[in-house]
Amino acid sequence: MGVQEQYPFDVAAIRDDFPILERSVGGDPTAAGQDETDDIDLVYLDNAATSHTPEPVVEAITDYYRSYNSNVHRGIHQLSQEASVAYEEAHDVVADFIGAAGREEVIFTKNTTEAMNLVAYAWGLAELGPDDNVVLTEMEHHASLVTWQQIGKKTGASVRYIEVTDEGTLDMDDAAAKIDDDTAMVSAVHVSNTLATVNPIRELAALADDHGALSFADAAQSVPNRPVDVDDLGVDFLAFSGHKMCGPTGIGVLYGREALLDSMEPYLYGGEMIRRVTFEDSTWEDLPWKFEAGTPSIAQGIGLAAAIEYVEDIGIERIEEHERLLAEYAHDRLTDLGGVEIYGPPGDERGGLVAFNVDGVHAHDLSSILNDYGVAVRAGDHCTQPLHDKLGVAASVRASFYIYNTVEEVDALVDAVREARDLFA
């Protein structure tokens, strides 16, 4: 049976919702959008960096601007009420989607990165000290690695990294050794954006819990493409971004357990997050607004809710299956090509991306040449520089898949990689 016949949903129908997939490239890279000089079909395989935005989501955003744009929370007039209801309900949609108890546990941020910094500042600066340690993994994204490293420097807390095995998985013995009674926080990436490893968050959260430490899952690469339930994972915090799951840019989510968020002091100060202000002092609004200072990203929050509805309509398990299919197929075909080193676990145990290098071809050259064939991949360190150092490479090329990608697109990738390899041979 061909891989196409195994698609868990109608990929062609999905593609119709994404007009950008119809465009060509090849022309002037400094002029936004398609023009006459673009004459090569786009094959977009950079979804781990950002996914495209389907029409229903674009329409939810334009509908907001065209028919009920208004500031939220405090307005008595109808537009403000409509915007408030939609914006606040977007929190409920997120809560439902990730199994949170309610909107109190869902804080909108601008991206995953800000969600981590929020916790690092509001909880970390207040709670960490020289006796504490924070345990990360060697495959952390800079969003958590740099954040905890720098908060560690500010507070004196040390940072430990759970080792990555040669197979690209977490060394759980090392995890058990590094997480100890001085551990205050265990923060781990759920699906690695470089190795495609699916980490055992539940076990890590349980280990953290055993030692009285908190746990934080970086779910930027998991919430978009597999079932994620905060209760089931047992984490205290979890973060992800809208733009990697059919949503707009400028919106991210911090999930936090209510009692924990309640106990934390606010992070950003300003309007909407206060209860009572005098010249001398202030008190704070209820959750989640206590952590959403200023005019929030209203259109983007509403857009995120529309994205979640879009993803749920397809079915998150089906999306997981589709990504697995493509990742395994790509892994097999690139391996067959020869001269290709793929990082991370075997094809059937990985999330929907493949980072690799080709013998004798620098990742940046490879990605430039792929671009000449219309194939959009990312080249660089994918915000995991220390992991790349450990892998002994300065950079890698990463192809990452999403709901609209096809077997034919993987074939186009493989063909272009072959051309590049031959050019440099």
Binding site: D39, I40, H362, A363, D365, Y373
Partner: protein, 139 residues
């Protein structure tokens, strides 16, 4: 397939695979290392000047990086022979793309100009006009 590797014309690939002036000098007047952290490209350049210290007599380089940065450094090392230090100072990005003879896409410009930057910074440090600690190798 349309553009198929326009940036990777024969000349570039040739310089990448067979870099000119590759190696180290015995007694350079100045040596400078620069890197492009976002790409991981590193180039070390060594220069011997004439007795007046005005004209470049010999250049060599070593390095690690993409084809664009390595080919560009290799071609530049050829061009620098006989150039005055003043001429080196005035080399700009256009001179480099002209030398390469291909259109460099905006995201690869950094790679293309790394060699030039290392040479210019090295010369400035040699003349005492630049603090070695302050050198930046990014555009």
């Amino acid at each position: 397939m349309g553009l198929g590797s326009d940036m990777y014309r024969q000349q570039i690939l040739d310089h990448y695979k067979n870099p000119r002036n590759y190696g180290e000098l015995e007694d350079p007047d100045f040596t400078h290392v620069g890197e492009n952290p976002s790409c991981g490209d590193t180039i070390k350049l060594e220069v011997e000047l004439d007795d007046e210290g005005e004209t470049i007599e010999t250049v060599s380089f070593t390095g690690d990086g993409c084809a664009i940065s390595m080919a560009s450094a290799s071609m530049l090392s050829d061009q620098l022979h006989g150039m005055t230090v003043e001429e080196l100072d005035s080399l700009d990005t256009d001179d480099i793309t002209e030398m390469l003879g291909v259109d460099i896409s905006p995201m690869r410009i950094k790679c293309a100009v790394l060699g030039r930057q290392v040479a210019q910074d090295g010369a400035k440090i040699h003349r005492g006009e630049l603090d070695p600690d302050a050198t930046r190798t990014q555009e």
